[in-house]
């Protein structure tokens, strides 16, 4: 099953490499990984999406917790949560394609953030399936380049991940 694990990590050099190293050492999957400092400058927040059986996921969270620099973590998929990913896509846009792409971008509530005579660059946010669906809709043949940030997530309601 796909899980989103959110981790508060000491904002120290080397801390990220421990997390990434753990996944490869123990043969766990990383689908996406995002990391950035938080409002508390001593902490980074890292979000990782992974897949595995319940036993593997339990091991992943336990092994992550064992890392000295991991302060706290939560498996967001255990409760109601919001997930978002940002994507920038460069699309071939000439002739009649231009209007068609514009319409599709609107349907997906994306924005065209850069334009040349032959190319549109589209910005789109949403959950991962929505981004996948957009790529499918415009057709892979017109896609010149895709960059995705990986998933960020937060729990719904009053639950917070903080110290």
């Amino acid at each position: 099953m796909r899980r989103i694990i959110s981790v508060l990590l000491e904002n120290e050099p080397g801390a990220l490499s421990r997390v990434v190293g753990l996944f490869s050492q123990r043969n766990y999957n990383i689908e996406t990984l995002t990391v950035a400092p938080t409002e508390d400058e001593t902490l980074s927040r890292l979000t990782v999406t992974t897949t595995g059986s319940d036993r593997v996921i339990e091991q992943i969270t336990k092994q992550l917790n064992k890392l000295i620099e991991v302060v706290k973590l939560v498996d967001l998929t255990e409760g109601a949560h919001i997930e978002r990913e940002l994507m920038l896509v460069k699309l071939k846009a000439t002739g009649s394609q231009r209007a068609e792409i514009k319409r599709t971008v609107d349907i997906f509530r994306g924005q065209i953030v850069d334009v040349t005579s032959t190319v549109y660059t589209v910005q789109l946010a949403g959950n991962s399936e929505k981004l996948d669906a957009f790529i499918q809709s415009v057709g892979t043949s017109g896609v010149l380049e895709v960059v995705r940030t990986g998933v960020s997530g937060i729990a719904r309601g009053e639950k917070v991940l903080s110290l």
């Binding site: 000491e10 050099p13 080397g14 490499s17 421990r18 190293g21 050492q25 036993r55 339990e58 091991q59 336990k62 092994q63 917790n65 064992k66 000295i68 620099e69 991991v70 302060v71 110290l163």
Partner: protein, 572 residues
Amino acid sequence: MELLSGADMLIRSLQDEGIEYIYGYPGGAALHIYDALFRQDKVKHILVRHEQAAVHMADGYARATGKPGTVLVTSGPGATNTITGIATAFMDSIPMVVLCGQVASTLIGEDAFQETDMIGVSRPVVKHNLSVRHPEEIPEVVAKAYYIAATGRPGPVVVDIPKDMTTPNERYEYLYPKKVKLRSYNPAIRGHAGQIKKAVDMMVAAKRPVIYAGGGVVLGKASKQLADLAHLLGCPVTNTLMGIGGFPASDKQHIGWLGMHGTYESNMVMHHSDLILCVGARFDDRVTNATEKFCPGARIVHIDIDPASISKTINADVPIVGPVDAVLKEMIGLVKESAEKPDAEALAAWWKQIEEWRAFHGMRYETSDTHIKPQEVVEAVWRLTGGDAYVTSDVGQHQMFAAQYYKFDKPNRWINSGGLGTMGFGLPAAMGVKLNFPDDEVVCFTGEGSIQMNIQELSTCKQYNLPVKIVNLNNQALGMVKQWQDMNYESRHSQSYMGSLPDFVKLAEAYGHVGIRIDKKEDLEPKLKEAFAMKDKLVFLDIYVDPYEHVYPMQVARGSMKDMWLSKTERV
């Protein structure tokens, strides 16, 4: 406040941490530190002949005393040579601090002379690693390193110290922290009361209970509590290879150790039990055999300080995260208070069955008129040392024979590389023990393969007068490899013979020690006696043993715990 250079701060921190001995090897990036070491006499340094041995020495010390060992090496090759030793300690949860020099911070990343990213290289085999970014941090970093190494589930911690952090003429205020606190690291100090109660109820109600006790009992100093609980419950106790000595071998409730080369009776007891109380062990693959066939009728209570060890390979019905001594103590109290008592009738029937298994096999081997059997060497050493020596071992058949036939009644006496299986561990580990227990007998069981992996340390033994006894069970082959080749590869002995073995007697003499060769059965006992009478001499006993011997029992690969070879021809 006192002003000290980084190098002086480092050594002062070791003094304040109460470190008496460190093991190491100097080199460019560590020279400021070695100079600081020279200018004091509280912390004594043992100069090894290869950095790997320094780590095993520190490891042997740690396993015998329960206190963290300390290593000091230089950058680059000095640091990378420690990796096997660090991985050995990591797999067996041994507390240790490894201080590594590093090129100056201004040179890091430039492929400078003797530069290695030790933080990166060591990362998968350490509990944690730290690098010094400012000289003023040194006391705090050292205190943190020892705290992390020794608390919770212990393990090795590497400290990387760039040379410019130890510059002699830059001085800073020195203050050693009294206490270390880390917001992200809080090992459990007691188990969950509700879980403990639930476990005790199950244990008291069980008809065929067994205690499966691991290295956590030794590391967690909980042998006394384990014995008390076992005696209250009246159940059999089996140890893992790492847990040997955690429960006295001479206790009538002891059924030997379990797993791949464990006793017939302990593997049978495990397989047929209805309740397993696992205390500080981790259901390692050398214990469980095929996990899907593991102990089908047993419910499992698992006590461990490390939550990640619980339900990793075998699911626990009652997980208890906490230090084993505290949890066992609580259990003892509850069993005593409990209105329900262990089921005497069921236990009597259980013991009757266990005694039948014991009588069926027990530990036995065939003796020979012509060959010295490795098992009888171990038994003779056990007798001659009163069963009270510190015994280290290398890795292979001799390790299994030593563990099977030397009966340990005390914890911290059996010192071997159980998890990583590091050949070359035995001699330096014995040296670390002997240095710290000069009046005790320290024996290293080894083989002619393993001993040659760190034989250069015979030189260190001479320099520091470390009269250990080396018992080389010489079968002129890499015995365990050969055994597997006999069993699984139709005796195609691919690369398991070593030609041109050295004359170990002359070799020992060349290093300034005593060498004794034993190749006749009748010489065994008298020559061993002669060796052990030489209290102040390192004696290298080169004993030619039956080269065809296999280690039994041996679990059948991919079977359950009860599927074993008991000899070359008997399979159950």
